[in-house]
Symmetry: C4
Subunit: 346 residues, 4 copies
């Protein structure tokens, strides 16, 4: 299947204050590649993404217990893409997913960061990734040990930038404080959960970090596992992907299906439909455009199990332009979760 005509052009954004540019839409292997999406489809999705200008492909050592890195690495080699045209990431923390003894194969010790990175590069079939993330904060390991270890990874040529995923703002600040003291490099990017229903961390907690550390964001779950597409507005189909995953994040999410919080969220999604209708866009496109309208988002990582979904996502760029201040205000009223503006003078 080839790229449909008329798609808006890809947009590229700097990764925070770094000199690296990532496609504003990117493709991640979480919950899909190496897992329930078979290899042929994975290849097709990655090719579709590359064809529409996606340059950033996101992995983690823990996704499908390493299989995500393996299949994405095969795709990178299969299509003969130039390594320098791509931005490849992986994340270190949950190494024990491979059946390794969990004792030292989890967390951010120097041992796991170095051993985990080496193992990830081998699975990917690459000599370096562009981005390497600490896939959670590890308060049991001294920040200095972690900062030094990621700098070691960069100095030995195994990555160009390091960042965090789902860290608290004060943990990111702490990492920069340690890095500054030692003359080392702090975390350049953070990978948070961000969408219409989950926005506090990105829009309030991290706010001062964008200026004080130059933090860039590569956000995940722009559609909140599909709920923001409106497809569950009339209930969850029995054969839906929800409920099939063994990912802890998804499991936690699944537990909520049908409960009070779930009902409240479905209500909000239903109330967003008139706005989408008025703009003549799908609810999915509206939700994705809403994420992309935030300039602190360097890239919105999407998942896809079919190439059509990749092409569909690209349409969101056209929707961003329709998000006037008035429309955004209307959306905020429906969402009811806009963080207060903090007045700060730097």
């Amino acid at each position: 299947m080839s790229v449909p005509e008329g798609l808006p052009p890809m947009e590229y954004r700097f990764l925070g204050r770094s000199g690296l540019k990532v496609s504003a839409l990117s493709l991640g292997g979480w919950l899909t590649y190496g897992g329930h999406v078979e290899e042929e489809n994975t290849f097709a999705c990655m090719k579709a993404a590359y064809d529409i200008g996606v340059n950033f492909f996101d992995c983690a050592e823990t996704y499908s217990a390493g299989e995500s890195e393996r299949v994405m690495g095969r795709a990178i080699n299969k299509f003969g893409w130039k390594r320098n045209d791509l931005v490849i990431s992986t994340k270190i923390y949950w190494g024990s997913a491979f059946g390794d003894n969990p004792v030292n194969n989890v967390g951010l010790s120097r041992k796991h960061i170095v051993e985990g990175t080496n193992a990830a590069l081998e699975r990917l079939g690459l000599s370096y990734v562009d981005l390497i993330y600490a896939h959670r904060a590890d308060r049991d390991t001294p920040m200095e040990e972690t900062v030094r270890a990621f700098n070691h990874i960069i100095e030995t040529g195994k990555a160009f930038y390091w960042g965090t995923s789902e860290w608290d703002a004060d943990e990111i600040s702490h990492a920069w404080r340690v890095a500054d003291r030692l003359g080392l490099v702090g975390p350049v990017m953070e990978q948070p959960h961000y969408n219409m229903l989950v926005r506090n961390k990105v829009e309030k907690e991290y706010e001062h970090l964008y200026e004080s550390t130059g933090l860039g964001l590569t956000t995940f779950s722009p559609l909140k596992l599909g709920i923001l597409t409106g497809k569950y507005n009339d209930g969850v189909p029995k054969d839906s992907r929800l409920g099939a995953s063994t990912d802890k994040f998804v499991e936690g999410f699944n537990k909520n299906v049908g409960d009070e919080k779930w009902q409240k969220e479905i209500e909000i999604v239903k109330n967003l439909k008139p706005i989408a209708d008025k703009l003549e866009v799908t609810q999915a496109a509206l939700a994705l455009a809403w994420v992309l309208r935030n300039k602190n988002v360097s890239s919105a990582i999407t998942g896809a199990s079919r190439p059509e979904q990749v092409y569909e996502s690209a349409k969101a760029f056209a929707v961003v332009k329709k998000l006037t201040p008035e429309i955004l205000d209307e959306i905020d009223v429906v969402l009811g979760n806009k963080p207060p503006v903090l007045v700060r003078r730097y």
Copy 2:
């Protein structure tokens, strides 16, 4: 022989303030592997240890003049254990044990640290150890030279952490002061002699280091070469291992056999028996549990020449729970060597 049923589960502890976890019980090659314990038995002991959850195996370049590293390295490869599941250590200082010219093959010069580490890794058949120790302090070499050399070992990927063995507290402080000034890493762990009869260094001399430097301990000789098991209570058998070793530490110990100090220690050990009997445990288990009850001990390194001894050691975890404040007080009265509590305000 397989793991007996009913053993308490292994406990893992952080190595001081680092992010590395070591099994609270570990297995060392001192006086045993590569020496009087033949290869088959060494393999059996290491497998028994691994099977009960020991992840930390302790070596030194000088143990059995390098043979300890060789045989333990063969074991690691033989059983197909994953490198990242293991914590392997070695120690540099006494390299001249190999028949090398002692002039520069002893001490903590940059030359011996680098050459000694390279030789140890070759004997182990590994590209890195997790822990590397300075096996004594070397006041003839500037601390800066030693601190820089161990950091060089870490930066070149040959070890993850460095530490000391049998250093004085002020020497450890000095190393950290030099490391801080240069933006380098100080010694993370110390390996001292520690048991019921030898406790001053661990409980008094090092006390402020646990907080000021985050020092972790991997202690050796929990049974003081067997005396704490009570097996010499009725005299030393002619065919005992005591007296057969050429290790200087053991030789010094042997010299004491039968003298005033020896008699005094035997007396103490005899007086501990009623407490062991009351708790319905062996004297060996009591002595080992007493070491493990100290939370500054990250790991108690034990020796074993038969798998049964490994399994026996594991029972100590069950005994730790019986060491109530009252029992510990009773023990202290018998030992008569409890250091005074120093009141400090940090």
Copy 3:
């Protein structure tokens, strides 16, 4: 063709305050090698240059889209010159010239500096260059990222010195300030456009940098694409190289051909002829000597498509001696562009 008799000896100058010496005349591949000059002629020019004592050969990743590095690398290997007798440079910034996706293959991000340098070394067939330049300033990338990345290139043995090309004075100062703060190395040399008609940057803007940072210059275009030779004094021949190049710098220059600025410059060049005649030298030799008379110029990079041009350039050293203060004053009157002397006390 062999070296003509009677050429003045080559002069060697320190590259700014560094310990490296470059021939005051050097040969660059810009607009020539890998492009319209065929391989055989390239080899002949490089050999002619080497034979008269040129030790510095200047490349860039973007020259002829990488072909310049390829053919110059083949020449270096072909003649069996010793690597340590040569000073080879390349420049990183415009990597997208190779048909690579421009997104991350341009600028001074860590990614492009590292990937670009590796690719350049492969094209050159060398394991290191002596000099590596940032081929433009990149205000979108933090200076710290760029300074760290070039220091990484030096520490990994891929270059000995790094510098800039066509940066503003304050950008060079900024780089040094960042380098000083981090204990790293700043840019040692700058490669600016410098000739009788373009002198403000070298003689005014950079002036304080020579003392405050020890900046050395490797200047390009001493004859301003030929206009200073006087060959266009009577109009531009139809088959001239002007107008054939696709280089943006040349294109910009070409656009001026015939316009008011061009006419004004031709007028100046015509007025220089009597001075050249009085000194009994060609206008080309006068223009090149005028560049070489500036002691802040470490090397004047020339282009040549035939060996005769190389030999011709060497004659300029004899002309430098004729540039008395009186003659230089006469020239300044004709040029009418001498920057005012800034009185400064260091």
Copy 4:
């Protein structure tokens, strides 16, 4: 020929404040190995030295234009000596001796230090030397460039310590000041000319450096090219080695033969004979012992063209004990060159 009986045992001294020990007597290749001493004799001398406990063998890139390193490297491999039992040095500065273009193959630029060291290691057939010297000071290269380059050599594992040869005291201080500012390592040792007739630099100029920087000395020419043996007391034989060398140092020395300074020195040497006779030692042994009596001398480098000379040198250790304060005073009266004692309070 085997080691004669009754030689005094070798003495080992720390190299200044470093942790490295060098034999107080060492063997250098200057003016001998790779030059007029043929290979078989070189091997015999080196073996004799090794057999009497010499562990330090001194080379330089310039000695016999690299042949000294080649033949000494072959000896090291030939005899199967363990690398860690040896201390091997070389010196970088005069690389142009090999017929290389002198422009960048001399001095202490980063380029020559790195290229020169790599070439020296290849000639030696070693992956590292223990000591690397800057074979002269280079005031044309910034001290920071030189200090960084030698630290780069050490960090890349090509040497353990760096030092200087024939630098002025203020140059050594300057190197340390730069190293301290950058958190790098300064020069650990200096190799000066030192003997009864040339003592000012070692005993006066460098004096404060021994304490302020921990400087160690490896001195050369203890017999001042033989004059201190007394063999020229009755005139210079026609076939003497003096006059045959092309070494600049020796040439300068030769020019003096027979002139006023030479006559004055011969007079002094003659006046030392009664003291040697009184102690019942040769003049050579007295002169060498006089150098060894200075505890700031870590090692006195000697030359030898026959094994007998090596054994002869070793006898000097027995003579050192005869150098009572009274005898040293007697010698000082004859020499007439004792520097005044500077009273300093640290």
